[in-house]
């Protein structure tokens, strides 16, 4: 049973009606069954139609859906023999960014990504996917390790942004993000990044300056959250929908702008309605991108990455 979003209310109502019919005394009767299947068809069509034309603000809500797959689900789904590696060797192990060695198919890779957590305890442990400097410094360490041993880097981006806190500032949040972006750009191994949920600002780009940037169909990627943009430019967070629209945060828009290289389709109704299918689709797409880059020399990979970001504009 999925948690319905506000804009899915008509679908939720149809589903409630179906459940109600099924629980009536006459359940199993021909009349009821034909009514149920009619309603099911109507509900499926409504879901399909709704998701075919989600507004940027609706996509933002889908991208943040609590049941949407997270880093650990993707790793469980398409990475085998995962060996998590911890710590920045300077201050702490930040659980908002997780990383480690693993195999995608028969490719040995370094996987890094934000983890938001999926219940109260894990959300707190992962700080809702909002990394602190030690998280970015762990990412840097793992990228440099991958580079030295010729392992391609795969990053999964899913964060509302880097954590805004006193200690994070004290320890150099800005510097950590800048260095992490720099580390991505310096790699002599292939790097494939996928925006799987929210790509929030500097906290996202720090692990997304990749050769190939993928994005899920209903993920969002932006320079500031729609709420943040609205509160600054419209002077009210209530205008988040307008801000999301104006900033062009969707995968389709970002592909047009040349920021995203490949959009990965999601199951009807979003990744959270069929996580297994979504995870498999992403794993396959990342694998294909890695294979395209596999034979390239370090200098070529580095130069291609640089040229790509120099050319965006």
């Amino acid at each position: 049973m999925v948690a319905y979003l506000e804009f899915e209310k008509p679908i939720a109502e149809l589903q409630a009606r179906i459940a109600e019919l099924r629980s009536t005394a006459d359940a199993g009767s021909l009349d009821i069954e034909s009514e149920v299947s009619k309603l099911e068809a109507k509900s499926d069509k409504l879901l399909r139609d709704t998701y075919a034309k989600l507004t940027p603000w609706q996509k933002t809500q889908v991208a943040r859906h609590p049941e949407r797959p997270h880093f650990k689900d993707y790793v469980a789904g398409f990475i085998s023999d995962f060996m998590p590696l911890a710590g920045d060797r300077a201050f702490a192990d930040d659980q908002a960014i997780i990383g480690g060695l693993g195999r995608l198919g028969d490719r040995k890779v370094m996987v890094i990504g934000h983890e938001k957590g999926d219940d109260t305890a894990s959300r707190i442990r992962h700080n809702f996917g909002m990394a602190k400097p030690e998280g970015y410094r762990k990412a840097i360490r793992l990228m440099e390790l991958a580079d030295r041993f010729g392992l391609p880097v795969v990053s999964l981006v899913d964060t509302s942004g880097a954590f805004p806190g006193i200690q994070a500032e004290e320890r150099g949040q800005a510097e950590a993000i800048a260095r992490s972006t720099e580390a991505c750009l310096a790699l002599g191994v292939p790097m494939v990044a996928a925006v799987v949920g929210e790509g929030g600002s500097g906290g996202a780009i720090a692990v997304a300056a990749a050769n190939s940037v993928l994005m899920f169909e209903h993920a969002v990627y932006s320079v500031i959250s729609p709420e943040g943009c609205a509160s600054i430019l419209w002077r009210t967070g209530d205008k988040a929908a307008e801000a999301a629209e104006a900033m062009k945060v969707t995968a389709a828009d970002l592909q047009k702008l040349g920021v995203v290289d490949r959009v990965v389709a999601e199951p009807v109704g979003g990744a959270h309605r069929d996580p297994a299918a979504a995870i498999a689709a992403l794993g396959a797409a990342i694998g294909e991108e890695l294979d395209k880059l596999a034979a390239k020399k370090p200098t070529t990979l580095r130069a291609a990455r640089r040229d790509k970001f120099l050319a965006i504009g």
């Binding site: 500032e169 993000i177 801000a243 920021v259």
Partner: protein
């Protein structure tokens, strides 16, 4: 500097000085009234309390380059309003206003000249131009500044001042973070120093990219420097922020800067650094 440059540069100042509103400057820190001419002659530093006021590219270049002589680099051409953005106002209208107010094309201006005889390309971000925000034009100007430095075989010195990325250019402004980072890598490979001078305020995506990647990190006294805005932090953690939080001295104490340098000493300190890092590059 060409004759045209020098005239162009002087006109706005003459106009300003004639207006009686501008005869006096009220220090935002100590609230004292200072004779505007005295304030300007003191490099826009309050003679009473030492508060460093915000200054734009013209004043900065004048103060920094030998004899106030320099050549402006042309502003790179970029796509205007790539997202056709509008909030309560059109982005194109906000741009028009900012251009009229500052007389500049966008928020980052480069110039080449000498500092105590050492060649340098200097970029100055203008907070008066839409909060110094980083969009396509700022990114392109940064890259152009670095390229000029490589061509001249001299350091690139950037004076940062920005509220962050330019929201009206959406994701394209975020992409200026990796873009400027690539330029810095190229400067480094050319064996040339990249010197950052952070001025008040430097926050957001600018801090989290080129402002924090200097070979040498300098800040002016009292400058606000950070990643997250203070209001955002307060709302997130629901705590009062410590005294002096995110100020230059605080960053120095936390290891994020090499030095805090008073505006009056900047020229000499930059020249000393360039002499160490980029010797033999003294202009004829």
């Amino acid at each position: 500097m060409s004759w045209l440059d020098s005239v162009r540069k002087k006109i706005p100042f003459i106009a300003k000085r004639e207006s009686p509103d501008n005869l006096w400057h009220k220090c935002p820190s100590c609230q004292q009234m200072i004779f505007a001419k005295e304030y300007e002659e003191n490099l826009s530093v309050c003679p009473k309390c030492g508060h460093h006021g915000r200054i734009g590219p013209d004043a900065r270049f004048d103060q920094l380059f030998d004899g106030g002589v320099y050549t402006l680099l042309p502003a790179p051409q970029v796509r205007e309003d790539p997202l056709k953005f509008r909030d309560s106002k059109r982005y194109t209208d906000r741009m028009k206003e900012a251009r009229a107010k500052t007389g500049e094309q966008d928020a980052l201006i480069n110039a080449r000249g000498t500092i105590e005889g050492f060649k340098a390309v200097v970029g100055v971000q203008d907070f008066a131009f839409m909060g110094g925000s980083m969009g396509l034009a700022v990114g392109a100007a940064f890259v152009a500044g670095v390229q000029a430095a490589i061509a001249d075989q001299c350091p690139y010195v950037i004076f940062t001042a920005a509220g962050g990325a330019r929201m009206q250019e959406g994701i394209l402004s975020l992409m200026q973070m990796p873009k400027t980072t690539v330029a810095i890598a190229q400067l480094r490979e050319a064996g040339l120093p990249y010197i950052v001078v952070m001025t008040d305020p430097t926050t957001g995506g600018v801090t989290a990219s080129y402002a924090m990647l200097g070979d040498i990190q300098i800040a002016e006294p009292g400058a606000l420097i950070g990643f997250a805005g203070q209001r955002v932090i307060e709302q997130t953690i629901r705590e009062k922020l410590p005294e002096g939080f995110q100020r230059a001295e605080y960053l120095l104490e936390h290891g994020m800067l090499d030095m805090v340098v008073k505006r009056h000493d900047l020229r000499a300190e930059l020249a000393r650094l360039i002499d160490y890092l980029c010797p033999g590059k003294k202009a004829a």
